[in-house]
Symmetry: C2
Subunit: 342 residues, 2 copies
């Protein structure tokens, strides 16, 4: 009379006993195997319902050699430096997508870099079935290692160089967004459109700069190197870069800045230089962060679909995990949000 156990939550065994079938059959029903007679299925489903049965995760992973767990790997710097809303947004998207599946999301925050080995070790040991990697550094070796070990992996941002096609990726259309932003400035009649670009060793920095170049090319103009100043995504650097640009080209009347925070710095410099925004210089940022909305004047900026990005990453990973789909890449549209700075 094993089914009369009563202690603790119901087990497969209990369900089997109540449904009058074997454990194997219950397992088949639970895991959606097609080879079960309608009657047996029915009986099992009723028993599950009646007993409020839910499979035991640990037992399942032990026997099934998988963890039913997906890791969200975030590097601490990327959270701390500038990715707060990015982190929150992607996480929201990821959890929404994963919520209805049997996968659990475990958070692995690699602090300072020295934790990285521990994290990698954990992942490679089979602690998780797949990984979503949100990393500040484009050259992060982790995705490649995971893929090499056969652990499905999807990264946020550009496909990692080393990993070939083994790693899935989802990126926002940084280049396209930048291009549209600059096109917008040109449409507003700006003649000399400069850019405060991000660091050239960061993919978004490079891509956004390329968008600026392409937009100028589209309009039949040269991308004069004098019109580019690099900065490290901080407000101060943005202010400095803008100062450089104004010195080099006092005739600047349009400015595309590769992040909202840097755009705030640009605003500081422009104001200090007595240039009005948007009358003298029209300004576009990037990110559509809270800062853009609350700036004075509110910033025209490029919005990334952050939450969608998280959701797509998760969906792509699930495809690999559940359906054995090959890793894919996806670019998500960005959107120009026009406010008073242009």
């Amino acid at each position: 009379m094993t089914q009369t156990a009563g202690a603790g939550p119901a087990t497969l065994e209990d369900v089997a006993a109540r449904a009058g079938v074997s454990r194997a059959t219950v397992s088949r029903v639970v895991n959606g195997s097609p080879r079960v007679s309608p009657e047996a299925r029915r009986a099992v489903e009723d028993a599950i319902e009646a007993l409020g049965y839910a499979p035991n995760r640990a037992a399942r992973s032990l026997a099934g050699h998988r963890s039913e767990t997906v890791a969200l790997v975030v590097s601490e710097p990327s959270v701390r430096l500038f990715a707060d809303p990015f982190f929150a947004g992607t996480t929201l998207g990821v959890t929404a997508e994963l919520g209805s599946t049997r996968y659990q999301l475990v958070l692995l925050m690699a602090q300072a870099g020295e934790d990285r080995p521990r994290v990698e070790d954990h992942l490679l040991r089979g602690g998780t079935d797949g990984a979503l990697v949100v990393s500040a550094r484009a050259d992060d070796p982790l995705p490649g290692h995971l893929a090499a070990a056969g652990i499905p992996c999807v990264v946020a941002g550009r496909p990692p160089a080393g990993a070939g096609d083994a790693v899935g990726w989802v990126d926002a259309d940084n280049e396209g967004g930048a291009r549209r932003a600059v096109a917008h400035l040109l449409e507003r009649g700006r003649r000399v459109v400069a850019t405060v670009a991000g660091p050239s060793d960061m993919a978004p920095g490079v891509d956004r700069r390329r968008g600026w170049e392409r937009a100028l090319a589209d309009a039949g103009r040269d991308a004069d190197p004098d019109l580019v100043a690099e900065a490290d995504f901080s407000r101060e650097a943005g202010a400095r870069a803008t100062r450089t640009l104004l010195e080099r080209r006092p005739d600047v009347d349009g400015l595309f800045v590769a992040s909202d925070l840097m755009a705030l710095g640009a605003l500081d410099t422009l104001r200090a230089a007595g240039r009005r925004v948007p009358e003298d210089v029209a300004l576009v940022g990037f990110d559509d962060s809270e800062l853009a909305r609350s700036a004075d004047p509110p910033l025209t900026t490029v919005r990334q679909p952050i939450e969608l990005l998280g959701a797509r990453m998760a969906a792509m990973l699930l495809d690999q995990l559940e359906r054995g789909a090959p890793p894919a890449g996806e670019v998500l549209d960005t959107e120009l949000v026009v406010r008073r700075s242009t």
Copy 2:
């Protein structure tokens, strides 16, 4: 010759074979039981080292009836509305604290409220050993339910009313911070110090308002109800509330606003009304968000130790989990950050 398995990662069995002891002894060493002879311990440790052994999580939880997993329960509204940096900060603190333990952090985001039952079910089913709850709502029943089910639980913010002493909590000293902020305004010589308070059904709103009252009382002044206007933490509501205050008391020369975002709204209104900040009205916000730093003028505000809060929550939960400590409560100091708005 079981030890010659070679396939997959090393198991307890492998270690035992290599060390020439039984599985039980290896288990004892791994779990830090004191009843192991130095020699055996030594042999086991060497074998572990040599084989690169790491315990299998699933097997461990299955046999040990615990999951070695801690849940971070976040309600979606709290992320989406205003807690981006809060979410990122606490998470950072939590992971830092948990990183060196054997506990995994799984993220449970309760979207929209209807997912709540699923989340709760999962937790109550023993999916996790303990929970950290970051919820926007003070009356969230989840912590109480968990505690009632014997699952250790620590919440961010005020101790939940229903749960008695069964739930641990860590809160920032909202009242104290507000009190200091208002005292600061008074020290600056402000005579009529009003407040834009948060909603009275949210603990931080209530506490910060109380801080304002106490500071006035400390200075021997009345907390005239005319000097309070409530708002829902949004910028617009902050602007509106400030307008109300100015109408009621045009002589206001100091303003404590219960959040930075609302303070931005206050700034809008003050500017529109032709009042200079800080000359005519000195302004203090709360949160020390990026917004405060980038406002014009930069906002004096109250900083909460967000990351520490996460770390303390995790530490407290570990205490309960590992050492059976009773749930405790802790209040973390807040810090006044003086900038140009006062």
